[in-house]
Subunit: 203 residues, 2 copies
């Protein structure tokens, strides 16, 4: 039987506004849970193990890779990041829906391990709009910005492997659409508990 709780993976190109969307979803749906990632980077001041990240040594992380303990993982520059399978499954079996914020490559890894995960691709209204937003951030050197822009087209090519496409034009509309997707997915016949039919027939 599939879990009636959902694992919702939201990803999309840098600058699309994913964090704002996810933060708004948590305000709207207090029963949503955020999946905590594991990492090999050092904790920053005020970061708490198990809350912001699960902080692991590289040896611990690699052991977990070998054991298949990650739904997805990646090495970004010198550090490893990953989604611990057991942590996600604990949240799901407690009856909560879980939001996973991973990049496009990670999302597709998750879908492979857990086909019932719901993959939402968050796209900008236009590439021009995205470039404007990214340039407006002004937080990184131009070479970094150009690298990001080059990666965007690769990300878009992976969109057909997602379940849903949501265009982030206006934050409230975007969150409405994602809330509807969550509600609709919960009504899918193949997600219904096995005893539901009996409950109705004998109710």
């Amino acid at each position: 039987m599939m879990s009636p709780s959902l694992l919702i993976v939201v990803s999309g190109p840098s600058g699309v506004g994913k964090n704002t969307v996810i933060n708004n979803l948590f305000i709207r749906k207090p029963d949503l849970r955020y999946s905590v990632s594991a990492t090999t980077r050092d904790p920053r001041p005020n970061e708490i193990d198990g809350q912001h990240y699960f902080f692991l040594t590289e040896t611990e992380f690699q052991k977990k890779i070998t054991a298949g303990d990650f739904l997805e993982w990646a090495k970004v520059y010198e550090y490893y990041y990953g989604t611990p399978k057991q942590h996600v499954q604990q949240l799901l079996s407690s009856g909560c829906d879980v939001i996973l914020d991973v990049d496009v490559q990670g999302a597709l890894q998750v879908k492979k391990s857990l086909p019932e995960a719901v993959l939402i691709f968050l796209a900008p209204p236009s590439l021009a709009e995205l470039k404007k937003r990214l340039a407006g951030r002004n937080t990184e050197p131009e070479t970094e910005l150009n690298k990001r822009l080059q990666y965007i087209e690769t990300e878009f090519q992976m969109m057909p492997q997602y379940d849903y496409l949501v265009i982030n034009k206006e934050i409230d509309l975007t969150c409405d659409q994602i809330e509807c997707i969550i509600l609709a997915e919960k009504r899918r016949v193949n997600r219904q508990p096995e005893n539901l039919l009996n409950n109705i027939l004998n109710g």
Copy 2:
């Protein structure tokens, strides 16, 4: 390319409240269209051909069956009823979403002809509740009522072949859920127009 418009098939056991739900959906979503059925029965006073039904002779109807012109058809007692494929496709290509109100057998026929149709099974909160509603109607002899009740279990057995299950507990909640299903289905990646990616990338 799939049509961005949706064919939504709503069915469920007698007495579940399907007509009330569908009528409410039309009030909420004025852009929804109702698919007009074809039939061989005689028009009643005030019934208009092409609006209430397409009235056909039995010979005409059978020709259309042979030609594969129906998305689904059935013979109920002495009359034929069917959903004309061309009529539905015209409504869809005009950009409207179409609601189809057919029984469970018909719904599965539609899914076979048009796999992108969205099948929603409307269920009562409980069989006891349904029996109460049916008995409350008081419009048919008891033998007819018992026949209906026997058929209900057969209908439930077909639920796993549907896409969505909505339990009709409270009309507004039911319509909210169906509206969400429609919205979510429109965000499905495989329903996006082919040129969308180019529009975003070149926009």
